[in-house]
């Protein structure tokens, strides 16, 4: 499929890594064709959708690599082709000149705020919050825009709390997000509005030196939390910290998820997925020991085939995650999440389901190990490992839009599709790397999926430097005790550190002198000496 990529009206430069969330202005009723992009969609308002790319990030970045463009560029072109139809309704009724507008950010709140700004600038159709432009634009957010979003946030928190209350009445289990459930009683947004009006403030940057704790004291938890989200690290430039005391950021979220559970930093954000009307599900009553995979495998294969025959599961859909819940006569049920690294076509493997069974096997192995461990069973060990029944449900899926059928085509057996297939079948991720322009050894490469468009590594001088570096690097440099510091060091190079950055580890000093060190037992180490003369082990020559 040939793509014409977006002529970007905004710059990507300065973005350090791809963002996980997208805010989109749309009026599609149910998340519409965006379900082709990711299964995790939230409807924020009637016109705004939030997309969480974590379940499918690997897939889209892999496709982008094939076209030799960045992840963001590729996804933008896809979004544009989808949105052309979605936004049409809005174009007719509201704003004939409005182009689709997408905002990428590391936190959904920032995406929403920047969308408010972007909607007022018709020339912008795309913003990456981590780019120079994005970081500048967050300073253009006005107080009315910010407070409007806070009111929306309060509505979502309230509705989620009601829904959760209905579901779990009597249950002691509570999610951490209930921290915001006092918003109804707080009623302090109106106080904030009055304060802003009295002080004649227009832009939120005019109060950027206020810490979230101070915000909490005066205007309540909701305002404080939203304030903290607004000024997260990625939203500010390195030399413009909005307030003096950095606070703990609970939302340093991983881009790629490892678990299916409610995640992570979104514990405070009232994320509510758009749920398809019906989830394909199959139940089976059996009597099989948990440990005997051979028996389980054949039955599971039959169930995958049965799912393929369900009316609510078509061949144009792709499974992203399954939930397989095993029930026992005496023990509580054992839920086993089966995650696919890339959207998987279940119909394609009808009859054998090699990929799905391998992924199920890895998940089963992990789950049974925990389930049958002595810590879990305790002293009252009962050999109750006979499965009485199970339920297999497709939890997350992509509903492929006809426009994108060619992208998800199964006909092409290319190297790329072969690699995707293998990655879907193994228990651990296969990581490719790409070079960056950074001079620091530990920052001179990134996983290929996080490669940024501005970064390239064909500098001959750098190439010559890298030839003298080791094949293996420690995650963290380890200090070498003084008594072990020998004089037999051979100087290699001097590297300046990013001492001006907030992320800088002070123990490594402002510059490092790298040496090759041969230990008495013949180890070839790559060590550095910091400004204070202390040696640290950083790599091994293998």
């Amino acid at each position: 499929m040939q793509h014409s990529f977006l002529p970007f009206t905004s710059a990507l430069s300065g973005a350090s890594s791809p963002s996980r969330f997208i805010a989109i202005y749309t009026d599609a009723p149910d998340g519409g064709q965006f379900l082709s992009i990711t299964p995790k969609i939230m409807r924020w308002t009637d016109n705004i959708c939030l997309l969480d790319l974590s379940p499918v990030f690997h897939y889209w970045s892999h496709l982008a690599e094939q076209y030799d463009v960045s992840f963001v560029e590729y996804l933008s072109s896809i979004l544009l082709s989808i949105s052309a139809k979605v936004v049409t309704k809005d174009v007719v009724t509201k704003d004939a000149n409005r182009t689709p507008c997408f905002v990428f950010a590391t936190h959904p709140w920032q995406a929403l705020l920047l969308l408010s700004v972007a909607m007022e600038r018709p020339t912008l159709n795309f913003i990456e919050a981590q780019s120079h432009l994005g970081r500048r634009m967050i300073h253009d957010i006005t107080w009315p825009q910010w407070i409007k979003r806070c009111h929306e946030l309060r509505e979502h928190v309230s509705s989620e709390a009601e829904a959760e209350g209905g579901k779990r009445s009597g249950s002691k289990k509570k999610r951490a997000s209930r921290g915001l459930s006092d918003v109804k009683t707080s009623g302090t947004l109106s106080m904030l509005t009055k304060t802003i009006a009295r002080m004649h403030l227009t832009l939120i940057t005019q109060m950027s030196d206020i810490a979230p704790a101070a915000m909490h004291r005066r205007f309540g938890k909701l305002a404080a939390t939203a304030w903290a989200w607004t000024w997260s690290k990625s939203a500010t430039s390195m030399d413009q910290q909005p307030y003096q005391q950095p606070y703990q950021q609970p939302y340093q979220q991983p881009l790629i998820r490892e678990e299916l559970s409610d995640d992570l930093f979104l514990s405070d954000f009232p994320w509510q997925n758009v749920v398809p009307e019906e989830s394909p599900s199959i139940a089976r009553h059996i009597e099989t020991p948990l440990r005997q995979w051979d028996q389980i495998e054949s039955l599971l294969c039959e169930d995958f085939d049965k799912i393929c025959t369900l009316a609510c599961w078509t061949s144009s859909e792709r499974v992203v995650s399954l939930e397989w819940v095993l029930s026992f006569s005496c023990s509580p049920p054992l839920p086993i999440p089966v995650l696919f690294r890339h959207p998987h076509a279940l119909h394609r493997e009808s009859g054998h389901h090699k990929t799905a069974l391998l992924q199920a096997f890895h998940s089963w192995q992990k789950a049974t190990k925990q389930h049958l461990s002595p810590e879990v069973l305790g002293d009252t060990y009962i050999a109750d490992d006979t499965i009485t029944d199970w339920t297999l449900t497709i939890k997350e899926r992509l509903v492929i839009s006809p426009i994108l059928r060619s992208i998800f085509s199964d006909d092409l057996a290319t190297e790329s599709s072969e690699l995707l297939r293998i990655e879907n079948s193994v228990a651990v991720p296969l990581i490719g790397y790409a070079m960056t322009d950074h001079w620091c050894p530990e920052k001179s490469f990134v996983p290929a999926s996080e490669e940024c468009p501005s970064e390239a590594g064909d500098d001959p001088a750098k190439f010559a430097t890298h030839q003298r570096r080791p094949l293996f690097l420690y995650d963290q440099p380890t200090a070498i005790p003084n008594k072990e510091q020998s004089s037999g060091l051979i100087f290699c190079e001097r590297v300046s550190t990013t001492w001006w950055s907030n992320e800088h580890n002070k123990s490594t000093g402002s510059s490092r002198d790298y040496y090759i060190r041969m230990t008495s037992d013949g180890l070839l180490q790559w060590v550095f000496q910091n400004d204070e003369g202390h040696l640290a082990l950083h790599g091994l020559f293998g």
């Binding site: 690699l419 790397y433 290929a448 590594g457 094949l471 051979i490 013949g522």
Partner: protein
């Protein structure tokens, strides 16, 4: 003084680089020969050997045409002495077990092997490669791999303490033609048998690099070749000693030439 030391240190690297001068041209492995008198006398081979000579030899075009055909050729290390040692490189379908004490520079030979496999320098065909490591806290440093000539787009890294069970699908598929398992501890005997079968059936080269030295008493009959690669104390060489499948030893100049010891020539 420091610059002299660095020059000594890098002498191996520079000789290594001779392979890069032929960028874009396939590396032609030296023909299998009986061991020469010099080898018998224990002379040390420089890494890179006589690649330039081989590339300019009259038989090159003939060899190239052979490589361009779809028939399977051996995969070379790009180090002529080592390729001679293996009678023209490693053939697909081979399981090779190596005992390489970690940290003495022996794994650089395997990285060199990855370079020829991924870049198409050997045989003109680029292969997908997989490096599986069981080490915690220590990860590959890709810029150094790339500087050796590895095409990072065709190399994947995986971290697994149980590579055979967790990455079974990768072994049972034709996609990755070269798989290296960097494992501190030995695998189980049945895992070696499985790997040897996968290598044969799917025409792969699988290398298991262990930290400890191999011994004939291990009785691993699944591997076609078993070798120990080590760096004798205070010597600037890498010594390759066969345990199974080959009959003579090889000494290569180490990429790391310590100035306090005799410089290998």
């Amino acid at each position: 003084m420091a610059s002299t030391q660095l020059a000594h240190l890098l002498s191996g690297l520079l000789s290594d680089n001779r392979i890069r001068t032929a960028s874009g041209k396939p590396y032609i492995p030296p023909p299998a020969e009986p061991s020469t008198q010099s080898e018998k006398n224990g002379e040390i081979h420089s890494l890179g050997g006589s690649i330039d000579q081989l590339l300019s030899s009259p038989s090159r075009s003939l060899l190239n045409s052979a490589f361009n055909s779809h028939q399977e050729v051996n995969l070379c290390f790009g180090i002529s002495a080592l390729d001679k040692f293996f009678s023209g490189g490693l053939s697909f379908g081979t399981l090779l077990e190596m005992g390489i004490p970690f940290g003495n520079g022996g794994r650089r030979l395997l990285a060199q092997f990855m370079a020829t496999a991924t870049s198409g320098l050997s045989g003109g065909q680029k292969h997908w490669c997989l490096w599986i490591s069981a080490r915690q806290q220590l990860r590959a440093y890709p810029p150094a791999w790339q500087a050796l000539g590895v095409d990072l787009r065709r190399l994947r890294f995986a971290s697994s303490a149980s590579p055979v069970s967790e990455l079974k699908a990768a072994f049972l598929d034709d996609f990755f033609r070269v798989i290296i398992i960097d494992q501190p501890d030995p695998l189980k005997p049945d895992e070696y048998v499985f790997l040897a079968q996968c290598a044969r059936q799917h025409r792969k080269i699988i290398v298991v690099a262990r930290d400890g030295f191999l011994s004939p008493r291990d009785s691993n009959t699944a591997a076609r070749y078993r070798l120990n690669v080590w760096r004798p104390p205070r010597k600037n060489i890498l010594e390759i000693t066969p345990v199974r499948g080959l009959h003579r030893s090889l000494k290569l100049s180490s990429f790391f030439q310590h100035p306090d010891t005799r410089i290998a020539t």
